[in-house]
Structure formats: C-alpha cells, structure tokens
Symmetry: C2
Subunit: 216 residues, 2 copies
C-alpha cells in the first residue's frame, strides 16, 4: 500500500498506453514480449518499462519477457477495470451524446447507469441504451444510486454548481470536459480534466517547429 | 534553433497550462507574478518554472518576477497562436459538431475554414458559421486551400484512409480523435491523439487508490 502511493503520475499516465499496446499485441496473437521489444514499439527504454511495472510487483521473467495476457490482466486490474465503476453523464449535448455513443465504456469495465439534461426535449430519450433523465432528478437519483464517476459535459456557467452537487452526493471522481477549473479542494473528489485546447496548442507548437526547421 | 529542438515534450505540454493560468491572472488584473507564487498556484516548483521559461529566452527579472501580459504574449507566440493556422474538421457527427460549436478555435488563434462529412443530409449545413462540404470534395478543396490542421472525427473504419489522403494533400498536422493509431511514419505530418480512454482510466486508477486508502 505504501509502495503504491509513491507511484509517480507519469507511471500512472503510461498504464493506459501499455493497455492499448497489449490489446494490440493480443489482437496480433503475440504470446510474450521482451521489455526490449515492448520498448521499441512504444518509444520507451526497456529499463523504463521494467521500472514502471516493478512499481506494482514482478510481472516479467528475466530472459523470458512478459506474458502478454497476464500483463494485460494486471494492468487492467491496477487501473480498476475490474471494479465495475458506475458512471453518469451530465449534459447530453453533442459532446455528451458522442461520449455515450462512441466511447466503449463497458469494454473498459465501466457502466453508464444514467444521463441527465435540463432540456425537456431530451428527457426520456434513450441513447445506446442509456436513459436521459431531467437534471432536476439528479440529486435524488445519485442518493438512491451510489455512483463512482460523473462525466461533466454541461455548459460552463453551470459547471461549478453541478460539480459541487455531485460531490455532495458522494461521487468519487469527476471527468471534466467543461474547461473550467473546478474547486473541490475541500472534498475527496478526484477531478480529471480533458483540456482539448492544451492538446490543440501542443499540435500547433509541433507543426510550427517543423515548418521552421524546413524554412530557416 | 538548435536550442529549441532540444526542448522536452514535458515542457511543451506545460505551455498550454501556463497559458490558461496567465489568462486567469489577466482576468484577475494581476500585473506581475513571481515564480514562487506562480509555482504555488500551479503545483510546480519555482525552479521548474524558471527552467521551463529559460528554454525560450529570458522572460523574468530577478526580484521582480514576470510581467503577466508579456509572458502570456510570449507563450502564445511560442505555441504558434499568432500564425492563424487553418483547420478543417473531417466528420461532423456529434463530436465534430461539438468541437465546432464549443471549442473557441478563433480565440486560440485558429481558423476553421471548412468541415466535411459523407452524410448527404449534412452537406450544406452551417455550424457556427462553418460550412459542411461533401467528403467527395475533400481532396479538391485541400489542394485549392492549403490547410495546416485536419481534425479527424470520422468513424474508425475510414480513419486510416482519410489520414493518408490529408497527408498527401499537404496537411501538416492531424488532431486525431478516432482512437486509431495512424501510421504516417513516412510523412512529415505530426499526429496529436486525443485518447479519451487514457484519461478515463487514469481517473479510475486515482479514485480506486483513494477508496483503498479509506477502507484498508
């Protein structure tokens, strides 16, 4: 337990990347892989990979490498994919809609239990099997249905209030798409932000850099 | 130039975070800020901040700190926000639609010049001033209108082909929402991926970790 708490955020952030790569290897029917080869395919050094996995226990065998299926199972477990976390989507605009339809939550081990929207025209809709309820019912619903994660795809002007509400109702994590910094510092709620603009600006930097290499 | 190429990805990824913080400070009418205070507000060490900015030149003054407006301008410039990069959106499903409507591309210095979709019912639509053209016109359009960035919000089964097409038409960067690893290794195109699932799984890890702290 103590060991686990010291794991750096950089390692945590690499775990889903390992998962994607391992799923790809499984699809290619690769049984085992060395840290050298895994590193080559992922652009990491073999020692980085061995170090990452050693944070969680001994998964590999010297001279043999990693069993792909075993390692995938361990990574999935560490990420909490076996815990059947419950997810609600708050805000069923285009983005909320897209997430429900296109993100394969259940394949990742999550279960979308409900969606909420304040637009009366959307209430009662079913999107890929998920029912849209009125935002007015949110508190009541969360109290009756303990929920692990709230996905925030609401307009910015209500984001703070909605976040406070779900925190008070015992939600443990907020997946925040609103580009607003939520202040939940006096709660136990973990906030994970998707900042689209950060990603776009990084892209902008990298293509700018390249074009300068060519022209200067 | 040489100096610039050595800048680590971690520094680049922090630049948009600085930008957001600086915009917040400007909104609060803060004129200048020390690396100590900036670090405190961003959860970074002052020396980390000084190191990050020193990659790009000398922006601060010892004992005085950073002028917020100047620093914001420099960060924006470094990120290419003054270059008026042209963007097309390919795939106007819910996600493409949400990006056009909710991402403030122009505030970030980008210009959406067109959107494309293969659904005849969407062709000719105007979304927040952006016209949707037929995917059949994509190649012709890109050849006539040099484009910096293509946003890929198409279904997975066509993602690879579309990426190849836009690369051949001279697009310099792809913002890839398809969760498919695009193989453009033999081109100069930079691919920036948005992997929603990586973010959700990190959230899952962090809330799992916390709940274990409470219960064990």
């Amino acid at each position: 337990m103590l060991k686990r708490e010291r794991i750096s955020n950089n390692v945590i952030r690499r775990l889903p990347m390992y998962l994607r790569k391992l799923d790809e290897l499984i699809a290619q029917e690769v049984d085992r892989i060395s840290s050298n080869e895994l590193g080559r395919q992922m652009g990491l050094t073999p020692s980085q990979i061995r170090q990452d996995f050693s944070c969680f226990g001994e998964f590999g065998q010297q001279g043999y490498g990693y069993r792909v299926l075993d390692l995938r199972e361990q990574v999935a477990r560490i990420l909490g994919m076996n815990e059947h976390l419950n997810v609600v989507i708050i805000g069923v605009g285009n983005l909320g809609h897209a997430l429900i339809e296109n993100m394969h939550f259940s394949q990742l081990g999550f279960q979308i239990t409900a969606a909420f929207d304040s637009n009366p025209e959307k209430i009662g809709d079913h999107i890929s099997g998920v029912t849209v309820f009125s935002s007015d019912k949110l508190v009541e619903w969360l109290k009756a249905n303990p929920t692990d994660i709230a996905v925030l795809t609401v307009p910015q002007n209500v984001a703070g209030d909605v976040a406070k509400t779900v925190a008070e109702c015992g939600v443990r994590g907020i997946w925040n798409f609103t580009n607003i910094d939520l202040d939940l510092s006096n709660t136990n709620v973990f906030v994970e932000n998707i900042h689209f603009s950060d990603s776009l600006l990084a892209l902008s930097y990298y293509i700018g850099d390249k074009s300068r290499e060519r022209t200067e």
